[in-house]
Amino acid sequence: MLRLLLSALITVWLAASLVFVLLRILPGDALEGQLLQGGASQTRIDQVRDELGLNDSLSTQYMRYMVALAQGDLGFSLANGRSVNVIIGERLWPTVRLAGLALAVAVPLGLACGTLAALPTVLNRVGQVAIMLAISVPVYWTGTLAIILFAAQLRWFPASGSSDWRALILPVAVLSFHTMGEIARVTQVNVQATQQQFFVTVARARGLTSGIVQWRYILRPALLPVISVIALQAGFLIGGTVITEMLFVRAGIGRLLLDSTINQDYPVVQGIVVLSTVVYVLVNTLADLTYRLVDPRMRV
């Protein structure tokens, strides 16, 4: 247990450091951009950077950052001086809602579709085609088409907004469609693989009916690795919301990440990465534990 915690902490720390260093390779940042746009002279810009400690050596800034991080303080935005904790906090819930709903829809659909595509049933083909489409069309395409068709032409659902539940329908549908594809794909492969396993043949030879064979010997073992895939998707989703939030004009972490990256507002980018890392580590640790509980063979 302690080992797990330690390993998790180290992962987060290393990820934060990696991003910190990477982002500082390039010259220029959001602060300079802001000041220059307002007509500041170079001397003024240097003065401000001095006052904010941005001209200190890299190691000094790094130490300062790590100390603050250990206390949960993610720093201040270079573009507008607000606390990164506050900025992220404002936009976290809409993204969680979007990602959470997308996952909640995608998981059962993905499992069902993947199983369907793998088992020798009539709807086999349908499942396979759906999965193929879901993983091969870029998200911004499905999103744009959805907006044009369902919002502009048919007026069934709204294309933007964050305040009422109807505005969630299209973005969740689009996002879950693609997430479902990923989950279904892995499910399909695993179910197919399990079907060919030796012990299944044995079970069949023993005369067990098809239904029992399918459930106990194929599906249950096949679904185990899917838990880890779902955990992986949870991490992906935070990145996956970037495009969806931009298209559907929703407040959220994804859009914030995109804007801060383009504006070179490093503290915000770092804050989001640290957050995602923490979420990923959390979810994966949970998945690990679940795995050990569920799969008897894994019990060490």
């Binding site: 990477l22 193929m132 995602s276």
Partner: protein, 259 residues
């Protein structure tokens, strides 16, 4: 399965021979013919600046496929030394696993975005950013498969015979991992195509106007209600290529489970 091989070969063949098949210069603008629907002169119509969509899609395929290939190479190559390091002992292995976990913990799109910030926008930057973001997932698959292979009986036999670790890796482990690795490489190829399309869409691609499926798709988005043909061609090709690759690699999925 054979059908998918056919499609893949067709796509690659067509894009490679763009220079001979393309009826027009993909970069030449002719604004009098802006946004023309498909016709004899322009088989897939023209875009906003009057360029032939068909020619652009042909040349675009070259760039898209090259970028995806480069990204896959970037993602795969580190796995080879990783395999060796794994056999070198538990300390090196633990260090490696920790590093890989760190990379894995950062969502791929985020990692790509951060890398692009550092490298600037451009085509090879997209390939690099996409590839690097996939190093860790791929290495994890490699690790899983190699561990399984390592446990197999014949490896014990090889060790009993006195084979050195590197020899075991090259002679026994690598060849047996190959099908799964290839399959996953295929998956990564299609992911790379979609990812570079996404990065182009977000405005992080190379010089404007250079044909690339994702970039053409992004350009087409702006005129999709008036000139849908600009987006249909690259969109369909992306989907086709991805489907073909994914179906083609299915034949390599063996009894090994993909973890």
């Amino acid at each position: 399965m054979r059908f998918s091989t056919l499609i893949l070969c067709a796509i690659i063949l067509i894009t490679v021979s763009a220079r001979w098949i393309a009826p027009h210069d993909p970069m030449m603008t002719r604004t009098d013919d802006s946004l023309q629907p498909p016709s004899l002169a322009y088989p897939l119509g023209t875009d906003l600046l009057g360029r032939d969509v068909f020619s652009r899609v042909l040349y675009g395929g070259q760039r898209t496929i090259t970028i995806a290939f480069a990204a896959v190479l970037v993602a795969i190559l580190p796995s080879v030394p990783i395999l060796f390091i794994q056999q070198a002992g538990t300390n090196a292995d633990t260090l490696l696993t920790t590093l890989l976990n760190v990379l894995l913990a950062i969502p791929p799109l985020m990692l790509s975005l951060v890398l692009i910030t550092v490298l600037g926008r451009g085509w090879w930057q997209i390939a690099l950013a996409t590839g690097v973001a996939q190093i860790a997932p791929y290495a994890r698959v490699v690790r899983g498969v190699s561990l399984q292979t390592y446990r197999m009986a014949y490896v014990d036999g090889a060790r009993a015979v006195g084979g050195s670790k590197p020899w075991i890796v090259t002679r026994h482990i690598l060849p047996n991992c190959l099908p799964t690795l290839l399959a996953y490489a295929g998956v990564m190829f299609s992911y790379a195509i979609i990812n570079s399309a996404a990065l182009s869409f977000l405005g992080l691609g190379g010089a404007p106007g250079t044909p690339e499926w994702g970039a053409i798709l992004a350009e087409g988005r702006l005129v999709v209600q008036d000139a849908p043909w600009v987006s249909i061609a690259p969109g369909v090709l992306i989907v086709l290529t991805v489907i073909a690759v994914n179906t083609w690699v299915d034949q390599f999925v063996s009894i090994e489970r993909l973890q």
